[in-house]
């Protein structure tokens, strides 16, 4: 195919990737933050220490996270069908991405929160702050820079996940590279897509670094 024919397809693929990645970053970022805070807070000895809840959350994260995403997609099928109504298409695929991203980000969030000096949390408690206020005014602001970098890392992971969108007929840049490049023996098309993805990752990492540095300027 000529680039005249390829260009609209490339734009469409880029749009699909943007849809999948942005939704996942939004939903997975929010739920991952919540789950990560849950992990941190319920750890025995912490603010809402609860051995049972912590064990359940911790196990869930440990079970989901190491599963290769392509297998996870299949395994999640029944739940995807129940929620989305179908196991194929961009919605079904994005649902699975949100799920995985939540668990990946939860662990990142928890690890960043653990590095906060417990003395600062104790000081806030001593001033009569409630756990919710401590989350809002101590934990998140104090860990903001590493959280931004973690979120940037999540973006790269999510972009990576989105590359196998073709497997469920979700399209996207990864699918474009395989269908229009690899299968057509057109290495130039594949190379162009790779360059585009590298540029996106570079730009986002650059932005994340700047924001993190700004959050650290204290």
């Amino acid at each position: 195919m000529s680039w005249d024919q390829l260009t609209p397809l490339l734009w469409q693929a880029a749009g699909e990737t943007a849809f999948m990645v942005l939704i996942t970053l939004l939903v997975g970022g929010f739920l991952g933050l919540a789950l990560g805070l849950g992990l941190y807070l319920t750890r025995p000895g912490n603010l809402l220490g609860n051995r049972f809840v912590f064990a359940v959350l911790n196990l869930a994260v440990n079970v989901v996270r190491p599963v290769p995403f392509i297998i996870f997609l299949v395994a999640l099928g029944p739940l995807t069908r129940a929620v989305i109504g179908s196991t194929i298409g961009i919605e079904a695929f994005t649902f699975a991405m949100c799920f995985m991203a939540t668990f990946v980000f939860a662990r990142l969030v928890e690890q960043n929160l653990v590095s906060i000096d417990p003395g600062v949390v104790e000081a806030a408690r001593a001033m009569g702050a409630s756990p919710f206020r401590i989350v809002r005014t101590v934990l998140v602001p104090e860990a903001l820079a590493p959280l931004i970098l973690g979120y940037t890392f999540l973006f790269v992971g999510v972009l990576d996940m989105s590359a196998i969108g073709g497997y469920l007929g979700a399209g996207g840049l990864g699918d474009f590279a395989i269908v229009q490049g690899y299968r057509q023996y057109d290495w130039v098309v594949t190379a162009v897509v790779v360059v585009i993805i590298v540029l996106i990752v570079q730009a986002v990492q650059w932005l994340g670094n700047i924001l993190a540095r700004r959050a650290l300027r204290r």
């Binding site: 003395g119 600062v120 000081a123 001593a126 001033m127 009569g128 702050a129 409630s130 104090e142 959050a215």
Partner: protein, 354 residues
Amino acid sequence: MPAATGAAAGSIVRFEGASKVFPGRGRRTEVRAVDEVTLDIREGEIFGVIGQSGAGKSTLVRLINALERTTGGDVVVDGVALGALNEARLRPVRAGIGMVFQQFNLLASRTVAGNVAYPLEVAGWSRSRREARVAELLDFVGLAEKAGVHPAALSGGQKQRVGIARALATNPRILLADEATSALDPETTRDVLNLLQRVNRELGVTVVVITHEMDVVRSICHRVAVMDRGRVVEVGEAYQVFSAPTHDITRRFVATALRDRPSPEVLERLRARHTGHIVTVGVDEVAGSSAVLTRTLREHGVDGTVVFGGITEVAERPYGSLTVELVGDPAAVEAAVVALRAVTWVDDHGRAAS
């Protein structure tokens, strides 16, 4: 004067057989961090809790603002028994008690002013009242020009002054200082102790000081409790505890604060240098000062040379001892020692067997 501020006032914190036991898990055995402590802290005093690390003093002070809950007995703060309160009802109690920490525990993400404003936000003060109060507090601790700076740019002493301003923000009646000077150099320590003393005198705040340094107790505390393995082994006027320690731990602390008594080795060297009669004479409030010693010796026609010793202040009263070589007629020396014994304690080391 310390006695006057303490004795007349009522109790503001009362430990009633309070215990804190951390349960053992697996191979760890349970820890009795605080073991049936009964203690009164009086309104308006500076109360010291001294003990070696691991003696349970940090846990004890955290029972006062319920950062740790008692596992036995109770703690009554300002008439409120804490044992009966749930977490949500403890929050207002905590908000009424200021606390400063060894590692300052300031929020790195906030400026100095933002840190001092934090407890005011928790207490629901309006922005304009907060700003006025923060300015007033930073002025009190002498950091008005640092309002917009982040804690990372401050020295240890400045950080602790921010910590104190933050702890005082909501006008608490009690200030807890957990090893507040232990991370500071001696000069900064003095600044921070002076500030705590001002807080007590000018604002009438009851201050509870946790420390392992006898020097802190010596310089600012009215009364002191000595802790050892979770128990309070000695409690009383700082001066009393200092001048007549009854427990080994206390004696050890006292010895670290003032090395005024000659050890046997020192005595031996003194003997080699001085042939006269050597005595160690206690200097305290009763003996007044070394003036009493000088006058007594003059009255008996005895020459005295100070060869060792030291005098310092405990709770703002003189305390220490002087080791003196007495030279003169043996009968006159004897009479002078008897006269000194009438006003203070005397350790008679005799004279060299020549």
